[in-house]
Amino acid sequence: MSVVTVVEAAPEPLPDLDTEGFWKATARGEIALGRCQSCRRWQHPPVERCRECAGPTAFEPISGAGSVYSFIVVHRASVPGFSGLLPYVIALVELDEQPGLRLAARLVGVEPSETTIGQRLQGEITEVFGSEYRIPVFRPVATLAP
């Protein structure tokens, strides 16, 4: 029997015509989301035509500022590519651009035990493990004491 070394790669995105703008933006180092060019609403996941008014959409950069809406601490390696990172934090990030506009993303620069709902975050671009693709992650930002 030969010993096979398995190198874990994270799942890769499979972009299509409606979503490729997101991945082109991250390749440039930007976070961009689909936005209606008529009513100006942001939409994620992106669609060719606005869900609200059927107007044309285009990808526009977002500020990357948001806050933790909810989060989990992942302890079990349920998805390939992450066993070396356990435990890691995944958050639903509510973006400042629009109420209810959310990205699910990994948090960086924070201990699981220090993560809280409402925590302020700033997005940045990082690699998808074992892939050419790049993706936004979020890092807590210091907020002024009240």
Binding site: A10, E12, H44, S70, R76, V79, V128, S131
Partner: protein
């Protein structure tokens, strides 16, 4: 026309069946028909559900049990979210005159084969999940833990509240010889369980198993001629949303915020009328959120409801007398229909709910699911 569950069948449940989904489906389907005394050749409809091609469809299964053709069949794509729809659609097909006797089945090697809670291999993920999968965020025990955390934040529910659900259902499974996990579980045991995805511990997650369940549904005329007491389908309510696990506006509520009023309006019944509630429990939090939505208790009150014994024998309603997916095992929710039928037939044995006449069966979680009310009396 009224429709009823006339027969039920199932295989042994195990961690490693050593059998194909075809072999198990055939056994369960034959069992459901034999249960009633119906001539197998009378079965003219078949419906199943499967996800990611993890099972075998009605054409292959009907052929394998000696039915050369079917008047009606559907191979539905989905998980727990479509179970109530499978039952309702079978009943609707009978009511529409498309067929007379339908076997609905689910067969899966959920532990030894394709596991829903674990993704493996080199994956390329399209659709809405393409933005999340590269973060290692891709499977139900993550999505539903995320929702549970929000509920804890908004309503102050706790891990102990989830533990009340897990320990109560385990206590029920102790009296169920068919359950895969019958070891009593204390709150200390629960709290000592290893983390899967905080706030979920191992005991918050369905117990993945291999096996098959089949449910035979017929119209009134046929039901009257069969061996077992019919278990009547009083009504169904469903809700499926295209808003996924990230977009859904309020994770403290599930599909049931829409399906529950539909079901109660159609049946003229309410939570307090139910003797048995087979609540879909892929995770403890699914029971919590859906019990609130179906009106068994106030938001944030489920932990106390269980702690005070209202969800067990002698209380308001017996929740998952078989132990549910958490303890009997994960036959993707069709085993909840099996249990409800058994209870309403008065054949629950040691775990029989006294005078059980009405049962709620729910299936699904998050944005997608449905429910049925079953009755021992013709509606």
């Amino acid at each position: 026309m009224s429709t009823a569950i006339a027969g039920i069948g199932r295989t042994e449940y195990s961690r490693n069946s050593g059998r194909t989904t075809m072999a198990m489906a055939a056994e369960a389907c034959r069992g459901a028909v034999a249960d009633t005394g119906l001539d197998l050749a009378e079965v003219d409809g078949m419906i199943c559900f499967q996800a990611a091609g993890d099972s075998v469809g009605p054409l292959a299964v009907s052929q394998s049990i000696g039915l050369p053709e079917l008047a009606w069949s559907i191979d539905m794509n989905g998980g727990g979210n479509v179970v109530a729809n499978v039952i309702a659609t079978a009943a609707a097909a009978i009511e529409a005159g498309l067929c007379r006797a339908v076997v609905a089945y689910r067969s899966l090697n959920g532990r030894s084969g394709y596991r829903f809670g674990t993704a493996t291999g080199k994956l390329s993920v399209g659709g809405p999940l393409q933005f999340e999968a590269p973060h290692g965020y891709l499977v139900p025990p993550q999505w539903i833990a995320m929702w549970a955390k929000r509920h804890q934040h908004v309503y102050g529910s706790t891990c102990e509240d989830l533990g009340q659900i897990a320990t109560t259902q385990r206590a029920h499974a102790v009296n169920n010889p068919h359950a895969i996990n019958r070891t009593p579980l204390t709150m200390d045991d629960y709290m000592a369980g290893r983390w899967i995805n905080e706030p979920f511990r191992i005991f918050d997650c369905a117990y993945e198993i291999d096996g098959a369940v089949a449910i035979l549904i017929v119209g009134r005329e046929l039901a009257a001629s069969l061996r077992q007491p019919p278990v009547w389908l009083v009504g169904s309510g469903d809700s499926q949303s295209g808003r996924g696990w990230t977009e859904w506006d309020d994770p403290t509520q599930m599909y049931s915020r829409y399906a529950a009023p539909r079901l109660w309006n159609r049946t003229g019944l309410s939570a307090e009328d139910m003797d048995v509630a087979c609540m879909y429990d892929c995770f403890t939090y699914t029971v919590m959120a859906t019990m609130e939505d179906f009106g068994f208790c106030e938001k944030g009150g489920v932990g106390e409801f269980f702690a005070k014994g209202q969800a067990t024998y002698g209380g308001d309603v017996v929740v998952n007398p078989h132990g549910g997916l958490l303890s009997e095992g994960y036959i993707h929710g069709l085993n909840h229909y099996y249990e409800a039928a058994l209870q309403l037939r008065g054949q629950g044995g040691e775990r029989q709910v006294p005078d059980a006449k009405l049962a709620l069966v729910t299936a699904g979680a998050g944005p997608y699911g449905g429910a049925s009310v079953l009755s021992s009396e013709e509606p």
